[in-house]
Amino acid sequence: MNALVDVRQLSVSYRHGNLAVNQLSLTIAQGETLAIVGESGSGKSTLANAILGLLPGSATISAGELWVDGNNLTHARERQRRGLRGRTIGLVPQDPMVSLNPTLRIGQQIAEALILAKGKRYPGVDADIVELLQQVGIAKPVLRARQYPHELSGGMRQRVLIAIALAGNPRLIIADEPTSALDVTVQRKILNHLQRLVSERAISLLIITHDLGVALDRADRVLVMQQGQVVEQGAPRQILGAPQHDYTRALIAAAPAFATRRQPLARPAPTQPPILQLQNVGKTFALPKVKGEDATFVALEDLSLQVYPGQTLAIVGESGSGKSTALRIALGLEKPSRGRVWFEQQDVTDLSWRDFRPLRQRLQLVQQNPFAALDPRFTVFDSIVEPLVSFGLLKGPALEQAARELISRVHLPVSFLDRLPRELSGGQCQRVAIARALALKPDLLLLDEPVSALDVSVQAHILELLQELQRDMGIAYVLVSHDLSVVANFAHEVLVLRNGRVVEQGSVERIFSRPTSDYTRELIGAIPGQHAIASAA
């Protein structure tokens, strides 16, 4: 059988001498699903761009050959490549939030792809748009085709992007991290759907992902990439059951779904009073007045929780479930509409910013996006010591001493203090952000999705660091996450939120072994990699 894509000893190098893909060979047969797994920087996106002929100007194919559907594309002209894009190869891009043109209606954007594929405008275009939208599982396709991207949720936008990729009736679809920006439950639905469409039409699928769980669940064959080279490839069962390479083993160990589930953290009976307590807290937002719609939006309803010193409470839910609102209320950034907030026996619900300020030394936040959490103009030193300077606690040599201690606490070399955030990787940025939060020696850290923007293997390191800090310094955590697999080994107690309501609340052991609500079961089922475990067992 002739391979649809045949990459032979391909090398791609960037102008500044960086070899992104190094002598890589792979084939994709018609109808096969191949997954490429690797960390960011491993060259997997460069490879996908090379197959699509979309390498940036600074990158060139320096060696090897690239054949797609019987055409040699190694040094093909743009015209020939354009003929293949859309019609032979379709792309589902990474970030659904920015991959659609915000000024065009959904229908127009799909029509664009259809017309390009047909070569000319034709009368049945509207019917085809509706049909495509139906195929990718969008309800009310006629209405959706008339809407703009901002009116659709992230999951729906990703479905639209799949529809656009399908419009040219391609023989290969490249999905570049197709769901990493989405909630786990949505992620599972989209991948299921994509997989069904692909198998119905015998389209080949190339999934690019950093999540080994997703790859093992979905692919016929998995290819592990590190620093531009294939370190291992084989069937999912083989990769999971008998990994040959150290790097693969490290990836498997890092993926939360495969990590040997430790004994769930036993929850010692609270001897001290709770450090943070929310009592029947509710929050409603006023909406702009639109006729026929509700004037208010209930973000949070009747939420009660207690956090005990030295323990971790995890709040789990999808986007829009109110988990961030809960965190902001605890931090005093928002005032609750109902209910009380207690911090160590003190009612802080109605405190003004000025009165709350002394408490800030005890209560700190680690934010979701590590790249945006650091001021780009501040060196790591400036960022870390900023809280100390703001409170006027330390000066001069004492400040430098504190910075040295903090940076070694988060296991970064002292020389990093002179760097700027743009010279750091995502994981390193997050470590700096954690160091900044630790500067005031807080008793309670609020973690807002601290690892969701990071690669799986980096996630594991950051979570390890956080656990170590908890052991050493006895800090209490409130961890907000959409991913139950992150929570499993980390929290003492779990609280599941949906649409602002508490669905379930209990110790981590009980939630995982005996979930009482359907929604929790669905969340547990959505953890990627379970399918692979089941088939390997």
Binding site: L365, D375, P387, S390, F391, D418, R436, L440
Partner: protein, 294 residues
């Protein structure tokens, strides 16, 4: 030396914060390695030096007339030639820098102060204040800049300083708009929230986080408008609102030559070309800064 130290296995010295000078050098050196940028900086420095100490750059007197050598073409003695009264044009141009550059500084200074102030106030306060300030800015934007400047000069009198004030007021709206947009963008970023949660007061957050990060596009606009201000002052002087003769100013120099454009084109052309070079250099510097920020 360092190699030796490493070989001896000495413990590395304790980490120390870099000095201010080290940090500035690290930021400036890569810029100066660009030849175009260095040339532009040299031209701008030349005009600044001319403004401060013109006597260092020429040995002629800008006001000494010499009818015997009137309208001489450029030669080794008179680099830019002479005008209709035999005055050395290069000298007049050098001496004219002080008025032109002063006017440009004044104009951009007014625009920066007014624009930054209005922009920060309106971006930061929001709500009613924002709405009122932005409507006033809208009105100012609706008037062509030179027309507005003409109206102001007519109202407050002729001369270099009034012209500079007029030009400055004319470019405030652009600054206010840019600053406001940047402040609005930076205000919502996570690191601002992190600073607030770290106990920083609004004043500190504004000065240390919001202003430096919103400053970039505004600084680029300022460099760009510096050239525009020189042009606008020259334009107004050309029309006769600026410096009174015999004081030299770039605009009046160019205006003087218009009677001899056919017979002695250098009288207008050479000062004009110098003006173009300065404005061009400023634009280039602004563009380089913009590129570096990206």
């Amino acid at each position: 030396m360092t190699f030796l130290e490493q070989n001896l296995g000495l413990t590395p010295p304790l980490w120390q914060r870099r000095t201010r000078r080290q940090r500035v050098t690290a930021a400036v050196m890569p810029l100066l390695r660009r030849p175009g940028f260095s040339l532009a900086v040299l031209i701008v420095l030349f005009s600044l030096l001319a403004a401060v100490a013109p006597q260092w750059l020429t040995s002629f007197d800008p006001y000494a007339t010499a009818p015997a050598v009137k309208l001489t073409a450029p030669n080794l003695t008179h680099w830019f030639g002479t005008d209709e009264l035999g005055r050395d044009l290069y000298t007049r141009m050098v001496y004219g820098s002080s008025l032109s550059v002063l006017a440009a500084f004044l104009a951009v200074g007014i625009a920066l102060l007014g624009g930054l102030g209005l922009g920060i106030l309106s971006g930061f306060a929001g709500g009613r204040i924002d709405a009122v300030i932005m409507r006033i800015v809208d009105v100012l934007l609706a008037l062509p800049g030179l027309l507005l400047a003409l109206a102001i000069v007519t109202a407050i009198g002729f001369g270099t300083v009034p012209v500079a004030i007029a030009v400055g007021v004319g470019i405030i709206p652009g600054f206010a708009r840019t600053t406001r947009a940047e402040v609005l963008r930076v205000k919502t970023l996570p690191y601002v929230e992190a600073a607030r949660l770290g106990g920083a007061s609004w004043g500190r957050t504004l000065l240390r986080h919001i202003l430096p990060n919103a400053w970039g596009p505004v600084a680029v606009l300022a460099t760009l408008d510096f050239g525009a201000a020189i042009l606008a002052t020259a334009g107004l002087s050309f029309l006769g609102f600026g410096a009174a003769p015999p004081a030299a100013e770039w605009g009046t120099l160019i205006a003087n030559g218009r009677h001899f454009l056919i017979t002695a084109p250098w009288v207008s052309l050479l000062p004009g070309l110098f003006l173009v070079a300065v404005v061009f250099s400023l634009n280039h510097i602004a563009r380089t800064f913009e590129e570096v920020q990206r």
